[in-house]
């Protein structure tokens, strides 16, 4: 099958059984790859009501037709599971080089099933497939485990590993790969830990068939050339995602002290150019990327190295913790990576605890003696470690995620637990950015930014405006942007460099032999979006409108300082946004896709 590895690898960890089956051509036709494959298998194979940490849950890793190919940034794979953090749909996108090796080993999807009785790791060396003893790795940090496995098997193998956070079932544990790339959100590392799977080690040496080799070469080169010649290529490469830090600070979108404000008085110390000057030692790119946005950094103070920090970690482990010190942020990033924690959820949850502490809702007895004030760097480091090991009262509290921690503490702390559907909000403060707020409210994994990102659109049309055009923009982005996670190619070339998305059309056709326009792809995206919504409905009795509400902080409590001081979104506008969104999506007043909508998208049967 052109553009595909051709097989699904099924790994039953309970029975130590590894089998391959062909990737069905109709699956590739209808769901294309990546997160399309993920939701297809999740709905079909994980039974309704399955415990996310039980043997019935599965972890599904999928490449796409552009993964490992001559696409600008074809290094993406999707990790889908039932989330132990939210009890809903989880899908995390991971860059690096792992997905290319999957394709070259002839594998489109790896489905991990069951629970191993003892710690193991999965070795894939082309057709050689083995589950091997991982007792020598269990307890190691994710980076240390990667080093150990590289030493054992060789540099050419790619490795995805969990850290102690995944082993200890912290519900927002991540998977680490390539010394600093992650499948970060929703607890995919937790599910891997629950399966007692420490790591996957993979190498592939086969080729992937393409429909038209000559057209493939031309389309690939055209795409590369567009990226390299794009204005801003050098600057985006130099600063990566940190280019937006100063801008977010200026417009009041930089999360500060648990999202109580959107501008940070010490923000200038954590801007991208400061980071570049102070700690970055080199650029680091994913597979086939013409604009390597990853930054490899060295902290002289702590004597450590880390890939990053990215903007998200700067926001959540910097300004949101009141820390205006780029070396400290880099070290917090390194700790989170090695311990295997999603730095977004961890930073968000610690910020909530800091606010509780400053308000007297948590005392030093609750924090195991830590002086958990905003800005206390050592306390932040200690909290990260406690979470990963579920150590002490504080570790046990925060290792639940911010929603459950706030439910345990009570005292009104849920008002400033910043999440949607139980997933901690990523690094955009949304006090007065109604499109971005709606993007978080309706994102299909919880409060995550990558499906639709619309703050610039808020600024263009008016931040506080609540109009159908904004809602339409969010829906378009939700249908369009995640298609990069279906194709297996990075979206940042389009996002950051603004290259013409139509350059992907001839490339995809040359690879697969199927002509698809972006309108065709958006239709697939719409279908996937409705399927993921139906997954939430299926798994959570009572799921509906109230699950889409944001943290009250954004409609009850205006920031006192910064660019958005005194600004807030009215609760009536929050509800109005949902009314318009549901209507435009073809969902009922409670946010459930109507039978007519499901029928139109031909997905009614697949949700049963």
């Amino acid at each position: 099958m052109n553009g595909y590895g051709g097989s699904i690898l099924r790994v039953n960890l309970t029975d130590n059984k590894l089998t391959k089956e062909p990737t069905p051509p109709e699956l590739a036709r209808d769901f294309i790859g990546g997160r399309g494959f993920g939701i297809y298998h999740l709905l079909r194979e994980v039974p309704r009501g399955a415990d996310p940490l039980g043997p019935e849950n599965k972890l599904i890793i999928s490449s796409g037709p552009l993964s490992g190919m001559l696409s600008a940034g074809g290094g993406k794979c999707d990790w889908t599971t039932k989330s132990p953090l939210t009890n809903g749909y989880a899908s995390a996108s991971m860059g690096g080089h792992f997905t290319a090796e999957m394709k070259y080993a002839g594998i489109d999807t790896i489905i991990l099933e069951g629970i191993s009785p003892t710690p193991v790791y999965l070795l894939i060396d082309d057709n050689k497939l083995q589950l091997l003893d991982a007792s020598f790795l269990w307890g190691k940090g994710a980076i240390d485990a990667e080093v150990a496995l590289k030493n054992k098997h060789g540099e050419e193998f790619q490795i995805a590993a969990i850290g102690p956070g995944g082993e200890n079932l912290v519900p927002y544990a991540c998977v680490n790969h390539d010394f600093g790339r992650q499948a970060g959100r929703g607890g995919v590392g937790t599910v891997m830990g629950q399966k007692k799977l420490k790591a996957i080690v993979i190498r592939g040496t086969k080729s992937v068939p393409v429909a038209d080799a000559q057209a493939y070469r031309k389309a690939g080169i055209d795409l590369y050339r567009a990226c390299i010649e794009a204005e801003g290529h050098d600057e985006w490469t130099r600063y990566g995602t940190t280019i937006v830090t100063s801008w977010c600070d200026e417009v009041g979108a930089l999360p500060t002290r648990n999202f109580s404000a959107g501008s940070f008085e010490d923000g200038k110390n954590i801007y991208g150019p400061v980071m570049r000057k102070e700690i970055v030692i080199t650029d680091k790119g994913c597979f086939g990327c013409p604009c390597p946005c990853g930054k490899y950094s060295r902290s002289r103070r702590y004597g450590t190295y880390v890939e990053g920090p990215e903007y998200e970690t700067i926001g959540l482990m910097g300004s949101n913790l009141g820390i205006g010190d780029i070396e400290a942020v880099a070290e917090a990033n390194r700790l989170a990576d090695d311990l295997g924690l999603d730095s977004i959820s961890a930073g968000n949850t610690i910020a909530w605890a800091m606010e509780c502490y400053e308000k007297g809702m948590l005392t030093q007895e609750d924090t195991d003696g830590l002086d958990l004030r905003f800005g206390n760097i050592e306390a932040a480091f200690a909290a990260i470690k406690k979470i990963a090991y579920r150590e002490g009262k504080l570790g046990q509290l925060l290792a639940q995620g911010v929603k459950r921690a706030a439910e345990q503490i009570g005292k009104g702390s849920d008002k400033f637990a910043i999440h949607v559907k139980g997933m901690e909000q990523s690094a955009y403060a949304t006090h007065n950015a109604t499109a971005m707020l709606l993007a978080y409210m309706t994102c299909d994994v919880g409060a995550h930014h990558n499906r639709s990102w619309a703050i610039t659109y808020d600024l263009q049309v008016g931040r506080d405006k609540v109009v159908p055009e904004k809602v339409a923009r969010i829906i378009w982005l939700q249908n369009f942007r995640p298609m990069f996670d279906v194709l297996g190619s990075c979206r940042l070339q389009w996002v950051e460099l603004g290259i013409d998305r139509d350059l992907y059309v001839p490339l995809l056709e040359a690879v697969t032999g199927i002509h698809r326009t972006w309108e065709d792809l958006e239709a697939v995206g719409d279908r996937i979006w409705n399927l993921t919504r139906m997954y939430w409905v299926r798994e959570n009795p009572g799921f509906g409108r109230s699950w889409d509400l944001p943290s009250p902080r954004f409609y009850e409590e205006a920031p006192k300082t910064g660019a958005t001081a005194g600004q807030i979104t009215n609760y009536e506008d929050v509800q109005c946004l949902l009314d318009m969104y549901y209507e435009q999506r073809g969902w009922d007043d409670n946010g459930i896709p109507t039978p007519q909508t499901l029928q139109k998208l031909n997905i009614a049967v697949q949700t049963h």
Partner: protein, 74 residues
């Protein structure tokens, strides 16, 4: 006493799709941006002679100023 401003990508729209334009030294970058009717908040990064500056930087004679927009986010 002039400096050169080079807006990238979509920001060119504000200077009639030219690659570069000249501005007077002595004003702030924010003032220069506003003189193009460019909303300051659409500019993500200001580089003056390849060093980041904020929009209140006072333009010096001979400066080369790059303006980058935020396009689609993170």
């Amino acid at each position: 006493m002039t400096a050169t401003v080079r807006p990238y990508g979509i920001l060119k729209e504000y200077i009639n799709h030219q690659n570069e334009t000249q501005v007077a030294a002595g004003q702030t970058i924010r003032q220069a941006i506003q003189s193009f009717r460019m909303p300051p908040e659409v500019v993500a990064l200001v580089l003056v002679n390849d060093e980041q500056q904020d929009k209140d930087y006072i333009i010096q004679d001979g400066d080369y100023i790059k303006l980058l927009a935020v396009i689609g986010g993170g």
